[in-house]
């Protein structure tokens, strides 16, 4: 299985061509996507034409490093001319008439989009079972879920459909599927990657980021995805960074904080052991360990499950059957049209969150729910800042368990929310967080280590992960397909 770095080098040296890489990707997709269902749209013609154009450009002297590299976008980034379904029946017929900043940036880098990844509908879910296009299977064990909501992206990278894919993370949607599928993924500081053209779930939490095999690949890809965008009012006016610059920084003297609350009851023993082993590896690399506390960790769940649905209920109001997307075939009044269109177009989980959000914002409940959740959010952000006075980065598990079986938790959708306990706080605080593969559980499924940094410390975090990947080989493990 090739990494992005290997593809870049092979293209630069002329060892391979974009057409060859794309052809290989398409062959793997043809062989395995039927089983995995990781992709919603595959456009071989467009991909091959793009690859040929990239090869021609390279022959003519174009030296952009990522020129001709195959890419899969999560089906949440609008890309002009591509169906952008967001995993929903609501947008099953929606061909985006404009492009997101992320898609534009990848185009500008010369990357060749070959397909669009399956996902939980409107990014709501942590198992990729909430897609209109059916569940995605985990390449490590097709009986299990790949995680979500960027489960299609994670499964695609793990299965070698492409070396990199884009994802988004609102409550763990990059990190958790990366952990479940044994790949590396990073959710940057909120505001680093533009949300322009990225279908909104919860605007104050959503953040795009790369998913790949290695930290180095993530750094290379983040260089493409990140950047100030005046079209997004929450995009940070942050100077352009080279996220690869700290990959080779030695870790001697690094202070790693281990939050007590992340190792408490409910954590699977295999995961605890793998995390501890990784921590030991870091000690061997020169890091020291600090015991820290994030006392409000548990409150991240209620806070998140008020704020995210509240924002979602409003963000998803635009799906009304008037200007684009699904419209009911039933005739009736204007309100009938709205109610039927939305009842038909949205799946169960999306409806549940819209109803939750509408309720917590409704008259008489705002202070008790929404405002209180925002105050708790502040407490959680404060916890992290207090912790960063004692340590450089925080480490812990991404998930309390490894991937579960498809259908296993269908009967109790609310219980699944509890699985997000370690990832939600990062989104609430707007911090960068990443998942790095650090082992396989006794059931053969991958385990992810979460690294949480302070604002704008992506380069440092990627370096910390890269140093680990220089002395371990978990990131090179591939599922047998």
């Amino acid at each position: 299985m090739q990494t992005l770095k290997q593809q870049i080098d092979a293209l630069a040296s002329g060892q391979t061509t974009s057409v060859a890489l794309v052809t290989e990707s398409l062959a793997r997709i043809a062989a395995h996507n039927g089983t995995l269902n990781a992709l919603i749209t595959i456009d071989a013609d467009k991909a091959l034409a793009g690859a040929a154009a990239a090869d021609a450009a390279r022959a003519a002297g174009d030296t952009r490093p990522l020129l001709g590299v195959p890419l899969i976008h999560k089906d949440i980034f609008c890309h002009e001319g591509w169906k952008t379904s967001c995993g929903s029946k609501m947008l099953d017929n929606f061909i985006a008439p404009y492009s997101s900043q992320v898609a534009e940036n990848c185009d500008a880098a010369g990357m060749v989009v070959i397909a669009r990844a399956n996902m939980d509908e409107f990014a709501m879910g942590s198992a990729n079972e909430n897609s209109f296009y059916g569940p995605v299977k985990n390449p490590w064990n097709t009986q299990t879920v790949p995680g979500g909501s960027s489960g299609g992206s994670a499964a695609a990278v793990a299965a070698g459909f492409s070396a990199v894919a884009t994802g988004t993370d609102t409550g763990g949607s990059i990190r958790q599927p990366a952990a479940f599928c044994g790949i590396t993924g990073i959710k940057p500081t909120y505001g680093i990657v533009s949300r322009y053209g990225m279908v909104a779930f919860a605007s104050s939490l959503d953040q795009g980021g790369p998913m790949a095999h290695t930290a180095e690949d993530c750094a290379l890809m983040l260089n493409v995805m990140a950047g100030f965008d005046e079209r997004d009012s929450t995009s940070l006016e942050h100077a352009k960074e080279d996220y690869t610059r700290e990959l080779n920084t030695p870790l001697a003297g690094l202070k790693i904080g281990l939050p007590r609350e992340y190792f408490a009851e409910g954590l699977n023993a295999d995961i605890a052991a793998a995390i501890n082993a990784a921590v030991e590896q870091y000690k061997a690399l020169g890091a020291t360990i600090v015991d820290i506390s994030l006392p409000n960790t548990k409150l991240a769940i209620p806070s998140y499950y008020v704020i995210a649905p509240a924002e979602a209920s409003s963000n998803l109001s635009r799906f009304d059957g008037v200007r684009y997307g699904h419209r009911t075939a039933k005739t009736g009044s204007l309100d009938d049209m709205y109610e039927q269109t939305r009842a038909e177009g949205f799946g169960a989980e999306v409806k549940r969150r819209i109803l939750t959000g509408a309720y917590v914002l409704s008259h008489g409940y705002y202070d008790a729910y929404y405002l209180q959740a925002q105050k708790i959010r502040r407490l959680i952000a404060n916890d992290f800042q207090a912790a960063f006075e004692q340590c450089d980065v925080i480490m812990g598990p991404v998930t309390p368990t490894t991937a579960w079986n498809i259908g296993e938790k269908n009967a109790d959708p609310i219980a699944v929310y509890l699985e997000d306990i370690y990832t939600l706080g990062v989104n609430l605080a707007g911090l960068p967080g990443m998942s790095v593969p650090v082992g396989l559980a006794s059931n053969g499924l991958p385990i992810g280590l979460q690294i949480i940094g302070n604002y704008f410390s992506e380069a440092k975090m990627l370096g910390i992960a890269h140093q680990y990947q220089q002395v371990t080989d978990w990131h090179t493990k591939a599922p047998q397909l």
Partner: protein, 95 residues
């Protein structure tokens, strides 16, 4: 705090989502389960804590007042369910 079926119907109506009686019952159970989860948050003393509406403490950026958006009606309406004479059509609006 517990939601009645009428509460569920009211918020479904607010959110413009048609719900069958079965769905109302199922939603009621699930939402009550969720609100039990959310309930533990409400007991926390947050006196004096400033609510956090944004992930970053930044101020609004302003753009210059320039009308420079191109007319892209054709492209935008290519994905519309129903248009005529450049207008989006909807069931009769009654004021």
């Amino acid at each position: 705090m517990s939601l009645s079926q009428d509460d569920v119907r009211r918020i479904a109506r607010l959110a413009r989502i048609a719900v069958s009686d079965d769905e109302v019952a199922a939603s009621q159970a699930q939402l009550n389960q969720l609100f039990t989860l959310i309930e533990e948050m409400r007991a926390i003393d947050t006196t004096g804590i400033e609510p956090m509406a944004h992930a970053q403490d930044v101020m609004l950026r302003l753009r210059d007042d320039e009308a420079r958006a191109a007319n892209r009606r054709e492209a935008f309406q290519a994905v519309a369910p129903s248009v005529e004479n450049g207008l989006y059509l909807v069931p009769k609006v009654i004021e």
